[in-house]
Amino acid sequence: MALAFKKVTVVVSEQMTVEDAEVLLDWLIKHPRGRINLSACTHLHAANLQVLMAARPRISAWPRHAPLAAWIKAALTP
């Protein structure tokens, strides 16, 4: 499991798979003000990207992996 759920933050480690998208979506529905910590994330499946783009949660930390961060920033900051 790449997701660790804290009180108001999800911490993503390494890879977010396609299955994680549903879990993430559920959590974001239950926690509308939830935050996401992506610092350890190395890749996330496009389905997750969709969820993030639709939900626009606050990103408490961008991925350390620079190319990934650049794309996610481009997707979340129009």
Partner: protein, 786 residues
Amino acid sequence: MNPLLDQFITEGRDILQTIGERLLQLEDTPDDSALMGELFRLVHTLKGNSGLFDLPEMTRVLHAAEDLMDAVRDGRRPFDRPVADRLLEAMDFVLALIDEIGDSAESAPPNTARHANDALELANALRSLLAAAQATTPTATETEPAPSPTPAAIPFESLPSRIQQELAQRLEAGEPLCWLTYEPEEECFFKGEDPFHQVLQLGEPYWRRVSSREDWAPLDELDAYRCILRFEAILNTPAEALHEHFRYIPEQVQIVPLQPPAPSIAPAPSSEPPPDAETAWSFNVVLEAQREILGLTDNPPWLSGRLRAVATTLEAAFASIGQAVDRDALQQALHSADASQSSQPLLHWLDEQQRLGDTQLPAAAPPPTTATAARPEAPEAEEPIKFGRRAEDRLAGHTLKVDQVKIDRLMNLIGEMVVTKNALPYLANRAEEVFGTRELAREIKAQYGIINRIAEEMQDAIMQIRMMPVSFVLQRFPRLVRDTARRLGKEVRLVMEGESTEADKNIIEALADPLVHIVRNSLDHGLESPAERRASGKPSEGRLTISARQESDRVVIEISDDGRGIDPERIRRKAYERGLIGEPELERLTDQEAINLVFAAGFSTAEQVSDLSGRGVGMDVVRNAIACVNGTVELHSQLGQGTRLQLSLPLSMAVTNVMIIESAGQRFGVPMDTVAETVRVARNDIRTIKRRLTTVLRGRLVPLVTLNDLLGLTIEQAPNGDDEFAVLVVRIGPDPLGIIVDDCRETIDIILKPLTGILAGLGGYAGSALLGDGSVLLVLNPRELL
């Protein structure tokens, strides 16, 4: 080149040729549904085969061809010239690809990505025929997707001005910038694709944007697995590389090489630059769409809203090409349309504008040629796409594919040659004995020697043609073993040796099914589960070895595993339970004999019938199948150590070594592989035990039968001058048996021909052969006789 690919290429060329022929035949008889069915199957086969390799271009075209043919087969589209033309073109394209692959020396198919665009164009052309067919059916028109993938004009304006300027500079500096738009299809997640991963692999783009194709649904209604993403980027990558990157999904990307923006090179002198071809084309599309909307005859409550929308669109459209329109006239038309609840006034206005516009606009400007500018509309009018050479422009490769019947005929001819050649020694003898010319006899014999050598070489050469490597049947096993082992939860390592051993085609083919049975049996019964193996001190991974080798004139195939082996006790018990053996045999059978009981019909030790084995067919089927080609099966097993099955097969079935025997004044042949030995037995040594003739041979009791009895003749067997009988000891089953004949003669090689026609029903004979002196020899089949 790997054999599978080799086979694919040979077969592919073949199939393509047949497809070509069938297509031409179909043009003459378009209603022949059987022909159509065959054609469909051929294309389907080829498509399936191409899927084995990394050849997306070929598969794409074939897939489209298959769809089109399916429609034709179901009568959704008539078979006519355009269909035939398109299909022939598609097949030429596939042939060109196959040739290219065949020419490359590498073992893997070469990369054919540079044909991706051609493939896409062809596939679209094929599909457009299909779409045209559907459009003629009234129900299909509604659902048909809008057939205008308008090449999105590059929205330079939407870029920040800083980027625009930099972009222009870079372009002028000659950087090969490309604009990429990637819209993954909605179901792509279910196909295991990860569009984001694809995009990340592209490298650092110069500019990027990620957006959605439609507005995001509220979170609780959001379907995370319906992909509506759109990726856009400007990359410093050549267009070919991008095409290569997206070669599996060319229909989902648009790749536009960027040119330095025209205005920066030659600033337009007027404030209204003439519309370029691309804008003009988009403009025409927009206009057509509006016309269509106005042409709708329904009268919905929102009609006035619709009219207003059309009016606004038209105004904006005309403004975009810099054509001044009379706003008041448009507003007036809109008003009157609104009042009369009809779209006529607006249509009139539009007609008028276009009449005016025709003089100013480059009317019906050709569509801009972007990478994906595929226009499904009116493809018939377009120049057909040509793909290099046609099929006949090129000679086939070095492989010759010959009908097996022709080879068989050659075999028969050389057989007759061998027989005829054998007549020469008779002739030499006659020359010497009857005509008394020893000189001539010697010359005939010398000539015979030469003919003999050539004939033997020729026979050998023809045999070689029919030879195939064992790998032909073995190549399926890695997959079969892997899948089966996985299903059974076992760990198995398959080791194959001597795959290049060759044998006659018929033998190899006969081997296929028995081998599958044996391997399945080994996997199911022989090898234990990893836990069981560890418990008995073996490595958890089982080992299954299939080895093939040649031993003189036979091929020996060994299948061995290091599994639990066969327990003779258990076999005895099972065989007794199933009534295969009686109580006395239960005690008497040796372990080896007990193990051989697995070959008995109806024997199975599996407690439960699984889908793999255990139905009580299997080993007896194996033995019969092997016996059919004169092969033998030997089974050795050590409890706890493993099982070894040895199949021994003749290299070739063409020549049979037989022993000639005499009985009742006739000559017969007996296949040498059944003959164990020949002995002379004196009349005194033959005893009658319980009305059966027996004799003692090297301390062993051998039952005897007379051949005349077996053949239903009432004549006594004739002994030789010393009152001894000639006995042929044959080994059928475990025990030897003596057949009393009148005399045993020489052994010869013959070409065995099965009995055909009226004689086919005769039991007891393996077939017939022609002898050197022209007489016919009947070859007995001792197995059937007894």
